[in-house]
């Protein structure tokens, strides 16, 4: 563990304007959460790794230096030469997956050709299980403000501490399970 004293709690990013959440807003929140789960690093963008100077600061005001150029490994038999245009393009212009997917044009393929897009598993046949967002037990209640499921009074307390800070809590007993 790094030097972290005491019991630190990581507060979830507060969902402030949560009164009367529409399904669209909840869907957006889920989508954002799922995007977060794809991240390689939590605190800093991963693209900077390997681009900082030796003293740990990022290079500013200069052309981005390629990590593959900065670190030269001795590969037997391979002469130092200028990379081909194709290779240089790939090295210099980094695109994220969404851009590459768009450029691939696979959505224009005839419907008979299976692709990344068609291979996605169909939605689940089971009804969704609601799980307490605090402790992981069944979430029998749903918060009327943020629509996250909770299991009991204890977890309700934790949630108010983290998310609402003093706002009066009102719970909607949806009683969906058991």
């Amino acid at each position: 563990m790094p030097a972290k004293r005491g019991r630190e709690r990581y507060a979830r990013q507060a969902h402030n304007a949560v009164v009367g959440l529409t399904p669209e807003v909840i869907a957006k929140r889920t989508k954002r959460h799922l995007a977060e789960l794809e991240r390689s690093n939590y605190s800093e963008p991963s693209s900077h790794v390997g681009e900082e100077e030796e003293d740990g600061n990022y290079t500013k005001g200069r052309a981005r230096q390629l990590i593959s150029e900065k670190r030269t490994f001795n590969i037997p038999g391979l002469k130092k030469k200028k990379s081909s245009m194709n290779v240089r393009t790939a090295l210099l212009y980094r695109k994220n997956f969404a851009m590459l997917l768009e450029e691939s044009n696979i959505d224009g393929f005839p419907s008979t050709v299976p692709t990344y897009l068609t291979a996605q598993a169909p939605p689940s046949n089971y009804p969704p299980r609601l799980i307490c967002s605090v402790c992981g037990y069944w979430g029998r209640y749903k918060c009327r403000r943020c629509a996250l499921p909770y299991c009991d009074q204890n977890c309700e307390g934790v949630s108010s501490e983290n998310q609402f800070e003093g706002l009066p809590l009102s719970f909607d007993k949806t009683n969906w399970c058991l």
């Binding site: 991963s46 001795n74 691939s104």
Partner: protein, 448 residues
């Protein structure tokens, strides 16, 4: 000719050379460029073994959602693997066998070819997905029995999970299914749960990944296990993990009953996290992913296969990839599949003894076959025909030729926007005429 085998995974690259010790015991190299704040150093791939301070590592991973997007980082890692530091292989005198993700995007496939031939100048090359190597390996070997003709591979790795049926060694691409749960997502979700409930571990991907690997398991009865974790006495699931003490460079470990607890120990107490993390593979909807989990994806895949042979797929399921190593994975999967399979249908799943290396080992077997040299594409062929020539030769999924046509189709649709009545018919008709040409027919490549 030297043959290099590279299984380029989202988490690690498995690399070895045929006929050398590395063939049996490949190098397993992190597929990442890692910055250690404590060491004040950046490690490229294999250099990671020099890392001393594992706290708050910053990761740069060349692969996003399973596909190579950062070629600068990928090249640095590949350079290191080829160099005298690791395999010491001269690419200009070698053949390379390289894995690619399922349904690799055509534009990314082209860059693969460009790096192999234009940058590294390999003599020859073979590119395929992990599952299509598996029939050459030993996963389904049973003494006295012939190799099954129909198999279904579950490949659950770092970026995602695929269900891949094969008939006589060839992937049935129409029935391949994917859901976006992999080891990366599980570790990130684990970090989040623990950080919310106990210690802030959001920047400790490396440590939490280890905790996940040693503490997590697949529940056989989720409902019951949740109840067990609720009751304080008789909680047979609760486990304590002593976090690594970096001032003494002590590794993290599970606390055993006879361990003497030290006051300086920082302990993670794990309860339902232990099984609710791997549970996401079975129920991605628990965290809001609108895709069915593994049992559902398998059922959906088999439903797309010819009726009369579906039973053979239920009976020949092979499990590869790091996530299949969670204790209880295979048993739970079989239990769930039995309730989805037709009555009287036998469900059998084969667990690889080394699921991370299974695809690599199968690829080595494939490359050792005498007919291997006919399957590769040579540098000369590439220089003459480019990526189109590559596409013609490889048996795995390739985009339908010609690649540019979809753009034309879009333009056509745009032209017809004036006559709105016709617009609906046009796109329906346009692909129909193309289907004939596009049906990807490949010369039968595999003879048993």
């Amino acid at each position: 000719m030297v043959v290099l085998v590279l299984d380029n995974g989202g988490s690690t690259v498995k690399a070895g050379i045929l006929g050398q010790p590395s063939s049996e015991n490949p190098r397993i190299i992190p597929n990442a460029v890692v910055r250690s704040k404590g060491d004040k150093a950046t490690y490229v791939g294999h250099e990671m073994e020099r890392c001393k301070d594992y706290s708050s590592l910053g990761y740069r991973i060349p692969i996003e959602k399973g596909y190579i997007v950062d070629w600068d980082a990928q090249k640095a890692i590949w350079d290191g693997i080829l160099s005298e530091d690791v395999l010491n292989v001269n690419p200009t005198e070698s053949t390379v066998v390289l894995t690619e993700p399922y349904f690799n995007l055509p534009n990314i496939q082209e860059v693969y070819d460009q790096f192999i031939f234009e940058e590294y100048e390999f003599q020859a090359y073979y590119r395929a997905t992990p599952a299509s190597f598996i029939p050459h390996g030993e996963l389904f070997d049973r003494p006295g029995l012939p190799a099954p003709e129909c198999i279904l591979i579950v490949d659950s790795g770092f970026s995602f999970t695929h269900v891949v049926p094969l008939i006589e060694g060839k992937v049935v691409w129409d029935a391949v299914k994917r859901f976006d749960v992999g080891g990366k997502l599980l570790t990130n979700q684990f970090k989040e749960l623990v950080s919310f409930r106990q210690w802030n571990m959001m920047d400790e991907t490396h440590i939490m990944n280890h905790v996940k690997e040693v503490c997590c398991f697949v529940s056989q009865d989720f409902k019951n296990d949740l109840e067990i974790c609720r009751g304080t006495p008789n909680n047979t699931i609760v486990q304590e993990y002593v976090l690594p003490d970096l001032t003494k460079s002590k590794a993290g470990k599970i606390r055993q009953p006879d361990d003497i607890p030290l006051e300086t120990d920082q302990v993670l107490t794990l309860r339902n996290e232990r099984f609710s993390i791997p549970e996401i593979i079975f129920r991605p909807d628990d965290i809001g992913i609108e895709q069915s989990g593994l049992p559902g994806a398998i059922a959906a895949s088999i439903a797309l296969l010819p009726d009369d042979i579906q039973g053979m797929f239920w009976a020949n399921i092979g499990l590869i990839g790091g996530n299949t190593k969670f204790p209880g994975f295979r048993t739970r999967l079989i239990t769930e599949l039995q309730s989805l399979a037709p009555v009287g249908c036998e469900v059998v799943a084969y667990q690889s003894s080394d699921s991370i290396l299974e695809a690599y080992r199968a690829a080595v077997e494939f490359a050792s076959d005498p007919s291997f040299s006919e399957r590769v594409i040579t540098r000369a062929e590439y220089l003459e025909g480019g990526s189109v020539a590559v596409r013609r030769k490889f048996p795995d999924w390739q985009p339908p030729p010609p690649l540019r046509e979809p753009v034309v189709a879009k333009e056509k649709a745009r032209e017809s926007t004036k006559g709105k009545g016709k617009q609906r018919e046009e796109p329906m008709l346009a692909p129909k005429t193309r289907v004939r040409v596009l049906d990807p027919v490949h010369p039968t490549t595999r003879k048993r």
